[in-house]
Symmetry: C2
Subunit: 426 residues, 2 copies
């Protein structure tokens, strides 16, 4: 297993700029949040994250893990609604969640397994002995945490970023309340579904009396090939999905596209990222009756190679002007690739998973599709304009239906002793 790869790249390395900043406010080991930027980390964490325990992604760092981390095989995504009305409960919750998430990320239970027989065990136990399986746990806050029914629920209203708002309604949206929204979210990813489920289950349990489950969706994907090489994962239409993604190892690119920067909005979110979730049902039986030419015209790419139509290689720069002999564009105007690309100015970090929940009793078909998760610095300049184009013209819409939608601000990371959410709540 690739261990802690992109996470240590993006989190375990202290950039020269960070070092200067750190030195500027008093040397090594400064508390996150002290500067209001949440963007500093101590040398201690940096060392901890490079010790390299097997299949362990380090939890603490400038950014939360699970965003630029190499995508794991499984996700268990949950959205929650907050039931307490007290801000101190929320703070307590995030403090407990941080400790539990850090333990589980190391493959440890959230408390001693069987210490006191007169109490319920602290950890639910099903992951005992298992590898951490590259578990990452990523927390986010939704717009409704700030204001709901016109109520400033926790005195956080003035801290709500303009970008953290419900997405506009797109043409053809068929959203269902049972797959949409949430005051909070947790994305647990691991190479083993039992480990990912164990994580969300124990976090929900810790939240008892403070937050409840709103919706939940497991998912799967696969980047590692039989030859042990990594490749772009394929979605349930059999096409490569995620070819044009920012390079998570390029710090400039992720700062440009993924991480919220100081000055972008309220400082508490600097080092965080906006997550857009879309639960996209895929009509796989209809797709499977469609001929290959039509399928490839729909995506604008060849199925086997992933290359754009008229081109050779998956990662070649898109040649949108390439034409057939008859003068029509090789990559059709209504194809997913052309519309996603637009003028090339918008990029999002896609981290999508397929889902298949068994049979849909209403149709007798598989209830299957894509749990589309994407991270970005500025939704209004990234996901929203892309999705606006896609929702209006994308030929793929004939085979898909957006049934769920949510937006969350994924908080910046923290260091040992701190807690996720400290920059927001303090």
């Amino acid at each position: 297993m690739a261990k802690n790869e992109s996470n240590s790249d993006s989190q375990g390395t202290i950039s020269r700029r960070d070092m200067l900043k750190t030195a500027g406010v008093g040397g090594i080991g400064v508390l996150i949040g002290a500067s209001g930027l949440g963007g500093l980390m101590s040398i201690t964490e940096s060392k901890a994250s490079s010790t390299g325990a097997k299949e362990v992604v380090s939890y603490y760092g400038k950014h939360q893990a699970g965003i630029t981390t190499k995508t794991q095989n499984n996700v268990y995504f949950i959205a929650l609604d907050v039931t307490t009305s007290k801000k101190e409960d929320l703070v307590k919750l995030f403090k407990e969640w941080t400790l539990a998430a850090a333990l589980m990320s190391e493959g440890k239970p959230v408390g001693e397994l069987s210490s006191n027989e007169f109490l319920p065990p602290k950890d639910t136990g099903e992951a005992a002995g298992l590898s951490a399986s590259n578990l990452t746990i990523t927390f986010g806050v939704g717009p409704s945490l700030f204001v709901k029914d016109n109520q400033d629920r926790f005195g956080l209203k003035q801290k709500q970023p303009k970008e953290l708002a419900d997405l506009p309604k797109f043409p053809l949206d068929a959203l269902e309340e049972e797959w949409s929204g949430g005051d909070l979210c947790i994305q647990a990813c691991a190479d083993d579904l039992q480990v990912a489920f164990h994580a969300v289950r124990n976090l929900i349990r810790i939240a008892r009396g403070k937050a409840i489950l709103k919706w939940a969706q497991p998912g799967f994907q696969r980047t590692k090939h039989a030859d042990a090489k990594e490749g772009t994962p394929r979605n349930l239409f059999g096409f490569k999905d995620g070819t044009v993604n920012p390079d998570v190892k390029n710090e400039n690119q992720v700062n440009e596209q993924v991480w919220v920067q100081p000055g972008d909005g309220p400082n508490w979110l600097a080092g965080g990222s906006y997550l857009v979730v879309r639960r996209i049902q895929m009509f796989i039986e209809v797709w499977d009756r469609t001929n290959l030419k039509e399928q490839e015209a729909t995506f604008g790419r060849y199925r086997d190679s992933g290359a754009a139509l008229g081109q050779k290689d998956e990662f070649e720069k898109l040649d949108l002007k390439h034409k057939h002999a008859n003068g029509s564009y090789s990559i059709p105007g209504d194809s997913h690739t052309r519309l996603s690309h637009g003028n090339g100015s918008e990029q999002i970090l896609r981290r999508a998973f397929s889902y298949s929940n068994g049979m849909d009793p209403k149709t007798g078909s598989f209830d299957a599709g894509l749990l589309f998760l994407c991270f970005q610095r500025t939704p209004s300049k990234q996901f929203i304009p892309i999705q606006k184009r896609l929702s209006e013209m994308d030929k793929l819409n004939e085979y898909t239906s957006h049934r769920g939608s949510a937006m969350f601000a994924c908080l910046p990371g923290t260091k040992q002793g701190g807690f996720i959410g400290e920059t927001l709540f303090n």
Copy 2:
């Protein structure tokens, strides 16, 4: 990954008795089914199954793979109803399924990936390039394939084994039609869920016009520990599940407990096995509020070690007479372990997986539990008496509810050139 371990043990090895039989009917390479026993295999298959391609479990053999095979991390289980009324369609279906299953078990697509752009691709494509991930595909036939609404649907009525009947109604059963029954079943297991789903999806697609999905349930489990040792998997109550299982490497034991033997009933099933499926909902939130002492008394075992109460080691012989100082039994009379064990005469081969389908919108809790799959030679002497005891007294019933149930006869294996079901349909 352990490759083809128990499968090659139980399938790739020719017993002395088989060798004698084979010799008796004309030497090496005799067709399965020629003797009516389905119990012979050729030296060729034996060699093929020991070539040891990585993460490949050989498909062909005396028995179907996926029964005594080491349990993989994931299952995608589907039940189907037959829609055709013609026996020749069924035969055609099983022939096509056999070829497709054999290809997928080697990590290959079910047809050339992108050969003709004017036709839908033969393979749905999402597993292209992925490892076979120890995929096994196991086919079974349900009682309703033989007789439904008093109709002898395919002229097979006289071939229906007495043992292949709907299970009796047990006390506390809360079965739902949407999780029960089926004319046919397919159990696809793999260490990767994408590979398992790809398999059932392509098999369903091949069945178009002949059979439809009735219900479907994915699941997961984990036997491999962080230290790379294999251990008994834990269920979602955090307890080890499957400690007392027949030794799949002991040929006598699996012949005694798992494989239908010549003379047990109609000869077409010799070399096959009966599969009982129970979809058992687990009330994990209730369980998680129960103290450890009560949890351990409910199972009759310690959570951490898996040892029976009053004993030290998970695999120690059960001491059902062990008593507390106060004279009460250490393993309570209503505990799952004592009731499952009974007088020790019944054993089943458990191959269970946990499931978690997201949130149950009716309760707001996780829809989670156990997809209990067990294989056996004679249900009336194995699962049924065990479940009768459990359903009447098991303390675990306070925390679980049986929501789905089905019984299938898993067909004997076949050799290259033959097809699964040949002994039944020919």
